[in-house]
Amino acid sequence: MNKVIKNKEEALIGIQDNMTIMLGGFGLCGIPENSISQLAKMGVTGLTCISNNAGVDDFGLGLLLQRKQIKKMISSYVGENDEFERQMLSGELEVDLIPQGSLAERCRAGGAGIPAFYTPAGYGTEISRNKEVREYNGKPHILETALTADFAIVKAWKGDSSGNLIYKATARNFNPMMAMAGKITIAEVEELVPAGELNPNEIHTPGIFVQRIFQGEKFEKRIEQLTTRSK
């Protein structure tokens, strides 16, 4: 089943103002860089972005923030960039903060047809405000609901023409769950191969979750916190 799209321009067709978009990645690791730069170029605005983080000033989702394309961020940890802080404090940007595990599970639930589930995370904090509480195993849990998106955009290491994806190391992070939860899921990959070249036992995201796949032109793969030791 051939899902290959020629380039990022064609892959992102259909993304419109005011849509909800999920974007994979943790910090700058495993983010769909090519698609983000294309979103900036397209100039779509009013976006609700579901992404664990919000990039840095001049890379990742920071590029969309600079251009004021984002109306609302749904994330677990943000604010590694000044423009984000400015927009948030001035009220231009809505921010919905969600515990990281609940964010991951809510995306998975959205993709898996589980509309809601109970979790202990956030009980007794402002996160549990207006949420149903129920005790299980002697411990209070709150009810969290599924998240889905008009488009999910993920980044993989390898992908085949059927949309099967393999991620590398910790660049996997949120990508697999978000791939499940998009009405349309777009994957950009470092290496695109014909169907049959990936070992079916080693695939992380089955192609059924992916509607469009394209070979990224160039991956900058910026490092946020370079930490090394000397030899």
């Binding site: 700058l28 943000v78 802080e85 996997r172 930490t227």
Partner: protein
């Protein structure tokens, strides 16, 4: 003499047990990995998706695709494994991680913890902290006993927005090791050269002091 950050990390490292999976938060907790007692093996989980985290890479060998939850470049030990964030928090929420060490701005004598938000200041988010504190059976807080203004961080009730309730069991500070039981702080050990009175003065919550309070052995 009160402990420095390394001293706190060394004391917490004594709590590690062979075979444990451990999640270390950013800051002082990260340092714990450097002081694993001899003869025991533990594996470090980073909630972005790795078990078996190794040391920082040698210069020039860093891999942008291999980072920890603090977004630092890392390496993987033999036997390491990568996984997605849902699986990572399945490990945490499902109590497969035996110990969580994290920092705090305030801890109450009920075991409540506040470490993510200061009203009026920029809020960066809770990251994985709420999942960690709500799920872990065994949580150690690593922090200074007082804040920069000299005000106690061990309180009757937290004043800042909470990260979790009734969850902290043990606190290791620059001054003392303190357990939380039956909604009270219990003094267990003093930092070398620190008097019980100094600890008492620095603790705003109710502190139970036993007859003898041994000095930490670091």
């Amino acid at each position: 003499m009160s402990l420095d950050k390394i001293g706190i990390a060394k004391r917490i490292a004594q709590e590690l047990r062979d075979g444990w999976y451990v999640n270390l938060g950013i800051g002082i907790p990260t340092l714990v990995a450097n002081y694993i007692p001899p003869g025991i093996e533990v594996e470090f989980q980073s909630e972005n998706g790795i078990l078996g985290m190794g040391p920082f890479p040698f210069e020039g060998e860093e891999d942008a695709d291999l980072i920890n939850a603090g977004k630092q470049t890392i390496t993987a030990r033999e036997g390491a494994v990568y996984f997605d964030s849902a699986t990572s928090f399945a490990m945490i929420r499902g109590q497969h991680v035996q110990l969580t060490v994290l920092g705090a701005m305030e801890v109450s004598q009920d075991g409540d913890i506040a470490n993510w938000k200061i009203p009026g200041k920029m809020v960066k988010g809770m990251g994985g902290a709420m999942d960690l504190v709500a799920s872990a059976d065994n949580i150690i807080v690593a922090m200074m006993h007082t804040n920069k203004a000299g005000i106690s961080k061990l309180l009757k009730k937290c004043t800042l927005p909470l990260t979790g309730v009734n969850c902290v069991k043990k606190i290791v500070t620059n001054l003392a090791v303190i357990d939380i039981k039956e909604n009270k702080f219990h003094l267990k050990e003093r930092a070398p050269g620190i008097s019980v009175q100094e600890i008492k003065n620095a603790t705003a919550g109710e502190l139970i002091i036993p007859e003898t309070v041994p000095e930490m052995n670091i």
